[in-house]
C-alpha cells in the first residue's frame, strides 16, 4: 500500500487536495507509482477559472499520458513552475515538492474522499 496521508483529501482521479483558504492539488503516491517516471507536465495558467472535474492539464510519464482534473471549482492562484521545470519531482515527492497547483475555491461543497475512503479505493 502506497502512502496516503491522513491529513489530505482525495479524488477518485488519484489527486490529493490540501484544503484550506486555498486548495493545494497534486497527484497521489499511488498515481505516481502507476505512472512511472514523469517526463512532462502541463498545468493550468495562473488566474484561470476552472470548473470542478474539468480537465486543466496533463501529466505524461515515459509510457502514458494522463489528464489532470480540477478537483473543485475556482481560480488557479498559483502553479508549481518548479515541477514543470523538473517533472521528476512529481514522481519522487508527490505530496511535497511535486505539488501541482493551488485553487481558490468558488463553488460549494465538493465530493472529496478522506484518506480512509481513498485507501479503500486503491486497495
Amino acid at each position: 500500500m502506497t502512502d496516503v496521508p491522513d491529513n489530505l483529501s482525495y479524488t477518485a482521479d488519484h489527486e490529493w487536495i490540501a484544503t484550506g483558504e486555498v486548495f493545494t492539488v497534486g497527484i497521489t503516491a499511488h498515481a505516481a507509482a502507476e505512472l512511472g517516471e514523469v517526463v512532462f507536465v502541463e498545468l493550468p495558467v495562473q488566474g484561470a477559472e476552472v470548473a470542478a472535474g474539468a480537465t486543466c492539464g496533463e501529466i505524461e510519464s515515459t509510457k502514458a499520458v494522463s489528464e489532470i482534473y480540477a478537483p473543485v471549482a475556482g481560480e488557479v492562484v498559483e502553479v508549481n513552475q518548479a515541477a514543470v521545470d523538473a517533472p521528476e519531482s512529481i514522481s519522487e515527492d508527490p505530496y511535497g515538492a511535486g505539488w501541482l497547483f493551488k485553487i481558490r475555491a468558488t463553488g460549494g461543497e465538493s465530493e472529496l474522499l478522506d484518506a480512509q475512503a481513498y485507501r479503500a479505493l486503491i486497495a
Binding site: A31, L35, E37, T62, V65
Partner: protein, 386 residues
C-alpha cells in the same frame, strides 16, 4: 481492436485505467515468484502477468547499456519444428531460406499472410538438420502456431508449441559475456552473434543463443521451466558485482527503440508488408516457392511506406498514432515514441509514405500542437564494437 495484439503500449495508453490488471486472468511465467519478491510493478502484457519495471525503467535502461540486465522473456512462444522436411517447410512458410542455414545459426524473419501483411516477426534457430526452434511474440504465439500448422500440409514435419515447458531468460549488456560464462559455461564466450548452442545448463538440456532485442551484446537462455528460478538466481548472484540488475518490459521497449528495432503491434502490423518497414531484404524468390509469394512479389513492386527516425523538439514525447505532416499534409504516423535515456532526447519511429532525407524536418501533431521533428538516421543508437 480484435486485429491488434494487446501490446504494452496499448495498455499503458489508457491513462484512466490506473488499476493493476486482474492477476487471476493472466498467465504466469515460471519466474512470477521472483518478480513478486523483487517488488516488480506487474502489468498484463499479451495475456501474461509481466514485470514492467522493478525500481525504475530509466535506471534499468542505463543498467543494460552500461553493465547488464536480466529479462524474463518466458512469455515468448517457443515452437519446435521437427522432421525431414523441417527446413523446406520453414522456407515455404516464412521469409527465410532455412535450407541454407547451417545448424547452430539463427535468423531474423517474418511470417506474412496471403496479402503480404506481417503476421509476426520471428527468430528461427536451426538446432539440427531436422530440428528448428521458432520464437514468436507472446501476442502472436497461438496465431503463428495455427498458421504454421495450416501451412504444413504436404510436409513431413511435427510442430510442437512448448511455450509452457520453457523458461526464457535474456542477459543483455556489455557484462553479459562474463556473467553467462560463469553460470552456463565458458564455452559461451565463443558463441558468435546470431548463433545458438544446445548445451547442458544446470544439468538439464537447454539452449543458449547470442541474440537479443536491446542493441547490446547478450544471450538468451532457454531452460526447462522448473529450472528458470535457479538460473535467474545464479545469474543474479554471479552478476551482482558487475552491476547486473533485473530489467522489465518498459526498458526493453526503450532499448529496442534506440536500437531502431521494430515492435509487432507498433511498426509491424497485419496491414503492413515487409517492404513498408525496411525489411525487403527478408524476401527472396525461392525456386521452391513461398507462401503468399504472388502478393509479396506484387507488394515489392508497388509503392510502399518506409520507417524513419525522428528527434522530436520540445518536451512532449510523440506517441503511437500521432500524425506526421509536411507542408503538403499528412504523410504518415508515429509508430513508437519515447524519451531516450541514452541519447537524452525525445525519439520516435514513424511510418511514412514519402521518402525523407536525414536532416529534413516534419511536423508531428502532439495532441493538437504541431511540433517540429528532425529526420535522423536509424538506428538511433549503435553500441561500439571494439
Amino acid at each position: 481492436m480484435s486485429d491488434e495484439p494487446e501490446t504494452y503500449e496499448a495498455r499503458a495508453q489508457e491513462p484512466a485505467n490506473l488499476e493493476p490488471a486482474t492477476v487471476e486472468s493472466l498467465r504466469q511465467t515460471p519466474l512470477a515468484e521472483v518478480h513478486r519478491e523483487l517488488g516488480a510493478r506487474m502489468i498484463g502484457f499479451a495475456g501474461w502477468d509481466m514485470p514492467v519495471w522493478y525500481e525504475s525503467a530509466t535506471v534499468e535502461h542505463h543498467g543494460v547499456r552500461n553493465q547488464a540486465g536480466l529479462f524474463d522473456l518466458s512469455h515468448m512462444a517457443e515452437i519446435f519444428v521437427d522432421g525431414p522436411d523441417a527446413a523446406a517447410f520453414l522456407s515455404w512458410a516464412l521469409l527465410v531460406d532455412a535450407t541454407a542455414m547451417p545448424s547452430g545459426r539463427a535468423r531474423y524473419t517474418m511470417m506474412c499472410n496471403d496479402s503480404g501483411g506481417i503476421v509476426d516477426d520471428l527468430i528461427v534457430y536451426r538446432l539440427e538438420d531436422h530440428r528448428f526452434l521458432v520464437v514468436a511474440n507472446a501476442s502472436n504465439g497461438a496465431t503463428v502456431m495455427h498458421e504454421l500448422q495450416a501451412r504444413s500440409e504436404g510436409f513431413v514435419v511435427k510442430l510442437t508449441d512448448e511455450t509452457d515447458a520453457w523458461g526464457l531468460i535474456a542477459l543483455q549488456g556489455p557484462e553479459a559475456e562474463r556473467i553467462v560464462a560463469s553460470v552456463a559455461g565458458s564455452g559461451l564466450v565463443d558463441l558468435r552473434y546470431y548463433r545458438v548452442a544446445q548445451l547442458e545448463i544446470l544439468g538439464a538440456p537447454g539452449l543458449a543463443a547470442r541474440t537479443g532485442y536491446t542493441g547490446e551484446d547478450g544471450f538468451e537462455l532457454f531452460v526447462p521451466a522448473d529450472l528458470a528460478i535457479e538460473l535467474w538466481s545464479q545469474m543474479a548472484a554471479a552478476g551482482a558485482s558487475s552491476g547486473l540488475i533485473p530489467a522489465g518490459l518498459a526498458c526493453r521497449d526503450t532499448l529496442r527503440l534506440e536500437a531502431g528495432m521494430p515492435l509487432y503491434g507498433n511498426e509491424l502490423t497485419s496491414q503492413t508488408t515487409p517492404f513498408d518497414v525496411g525489411s525487403s531484404r527478408l524476401f527472396k524468390v525461392k525456386p521452391s516457392g513461398q507462401f503468399g509469394e504472388a502478393a509479396l512479389v506484387k507488394a515489392s513492386a508497388a509503392a510502399h511506406d518506409q520507417l524513419i527516425g525522428l528527434r522530436i523538439h520540445g518536451r512532449r514525447p510523440a506517441r503511437t498514432g500521432y500524425a506526421v505532416n509536411v507542408e503538403g499534409g499528412q504523410i504518415g504516423t508515429i509508430t513508437s515514441g519515447s524519451p531516450s535515456p541514452t541519447l537524452d532526447c525525445l525519439l520516435a519511429i514513424a511510418r511514412v509514405s514519402e521518402p525523407l532525407e536525414v536532416g529534413a524536418t516534419v511536423q508531428v501533431d502532439i495532441r493538437d500542437t504541431m511540433t517540429v521533428a528532425d529526420v535522423v538516421a536509424l538506428p538511433f543508437y549503435q553500441r561500439s564494437r571494439i
